[in-house]
Amino acid sequence: MEAAAGGGCGSGPPLLLSEGEQQCYSELFARCAGAAGGGPGSGPPEAARAAPGAATAASGPVADLFRASQLPAETLHQITELCGAKRVGYFGPTQFYIALKLIAAAQSGLPMRIESIKCELPLPRFMMSKTDAEIRFGNMAELHGTKVQIPYLITEKNTFKRMDDEDKQETQSPTMSPLASPPSSPPHYQRVPLSHGYSKLRSSTEQVHPAPYEARQPLVQPEGPSLGGPGAKPLRHQASLIRSFSVERELQDNNSSYPDEPWRITEEQREYYVNQFRSLQPDPSSFISGSVAKNFFTKSKLSIPELSYIWELSDADCDGALSLPEFCAAFHLIVARKNGYPLPEGLPPTLQPEYLQAAFPKPKWECALFDSYSEPVPANQQLRDLNRMEKLSIKDVADFPVPTQDVTGDDKQALKSATDEALPKDMSEDSASKSGLLPPPPALPPRPCPLQSEQGSEAELHPQLNRAPSQAAESSPTKKDIPYSQPPSKPIRRKFRPENQATENQEPTTAVGGPASVATVKPHPTVQKQSSKQKKAIQTAIRKNKEANAVLARLNSELQQQLKEVHQERIALENQLEQLRPVTVL
């Protein structure tokens, strides 16, 4: 692994990893790659990115990992550039290891240069969020418990000299380390935590990881150049590690038993659901129709009443179709049921669509990696703003995926292959459309007429419950388009029409919206939040319209029957007339 890392480094210097680093990095890499590959079908992007003979880490987990290192976004940007991932477009093992090294360097305060990684560095530290940690780093504590320590010792030795000054400053700020005494007396500190640490290690409390660190200190002491250094440095590491591993500890406990959280969707599960959604409906911002979903879920071999109940729980807006969060919720419920969990009385809060949208905003982990790390939310807000500003026609429906594509495209062009770009575009579309948005680019040629008219008729139903459907269908689609501020995804999703029409809409608009200005993208995200309220109001209207839809369809069939009856009556009457006629004629 080391040789490969060294050889594959390209323009950078050969990368020498200590044993500890090697272990840690390979573990991290495996987790990142594994998390991505955990779902069945990670999809073409993964395959396309596969480096020869080596797995690649998915950008999602990698982005999360980097963010967990708590470095500023700029630094993370630099790191991604330096490690070569930007250049080659993916995170192969080489790039990943270099990136980790750079993170470690950054955390140690070294400037961001390739040369930084030549020196011996401590392991990078990652403060993981709950769900990330439990997936990726659940066992890191144990893994690093003993094995890493000795090599760490060696690597640390050299860094101490360099970092003395820095460390001494840092030790003045006391810490987060609950168990270390104030750093004013390093030797004292070393003695006290040592015993502490070991005892706590046995009782398996949160100080698992720091304990080995502490154990090393007496070793370091005779070798170290100064006491301040070794004492201070591990203290700093320890402090942050204690934090991170205490978090992990809790997570591990929670994760293993999951007593109150069987309804929380993990990252891996989420990816799997999303992939399944995409297999049914290529556009993640659109909906899966009821019949498609029914066919899919009946494969799970649950009974129909149970499936019906699950649907009832998960289709929050009762529109007869599943959006991405609704689909994930439904899938999760099915999975839980198959594993023996009884179905809940109501939809658990962690499965609510709003929660799912907030917890796992799709564009974040796709585009955030190479975008500003702190910017996914502003991106959404921009989308929302744009929607707000211009309430426009359905034709905007088509346009709206495009600007978001531009945004992500710009950022990622240097980075990923074409297939990868398709993914992020979908992601951002997904988030934007899920919030019910409709960013209308300023100048857009009118969409193909047949599509428009269909959508026009559909749009008619939505806002105008009482209008006679026959009139609605014929009225000019353009006229209706303008006052119709409904988010695009809803009209695209049709209960009675296949979603291939939706994709049809997407395609011509993709071509058409190409020239759409990127500037329109900027205001998008802010609109999103504001339109969430609109979304609620609109959803109630949608419900009523759905009802009208169902009613009208039945009405239609009944009218057909009536027509047949009337025909028969007419025929009967005509027969009678025929019979009577000879009499009158005569």
Partner: protein, 144 residues
């Protein structure tokens, strides 16, 4: 053509004159309610046909008081897809006004539409939706 009967009493939802959903609060007189509902089905059919085939979409969904018996009042409501809702209420429950009945029917209709939206529900099946049950229960509690 379904029926739903709500009463202080019973809820029966019929499709093509056979029941889709039945619920009654005091359950002992259920048979009596069934009988009343079946007779009122005729009244509903009469009202529907009276409005004629002329302008179907202008037909009122709410049919109003179908006929009063000595003990009970029967209200009817029919959707455009000929699903009939029948509500039987106790005559002693004089506090119930027309508007309330209308709103109750509207709620029933909305819930029924939600049930329809479930792809696992086949029109013509008995309605087994928990949400629908909950809604009906709350309504009947409110009435009684």
């Amino acid at each position: 053509m379904g029926w739903i009967l709500v009463a202080s009493a019973a809820v029966i939802l019929f499709l093509q004159n056979y029941p889709l959903y039945i619920r009654s609060v005091p359950t002992e007189n259920e048979l009596k309610f069934h009988y009343m509902v079946h007779t009122s089905l005729d009244v509903v059919d009469e009202k529907i046909s009276a409005m004629g085939k002329a302008l179907v979409d202008q037909r009122e969904l709410y049919l109003g008081l179908l006929y009063p018996t000595e003990d009970y009042k029967v209200y009817g409501y029919v959707t455009n897809s000929k699903v009939k809702f029948v509500m039987v209420v106790d005559s002693s429950n004089t506090a119930l006004r027309d508007n309330e009945i209308r709103s109750m029917f509207r709620k029933l209709h909305n819930s029924y539409t939600d049930v329809m939206c479930n792809p696992f529900y086949n029109p013509g099946d008995r309605i087994q939706s928990r949400a629908f049950d909950g809604m009906v229960t709350s309504m009947m509690i409110q009435v009684c």
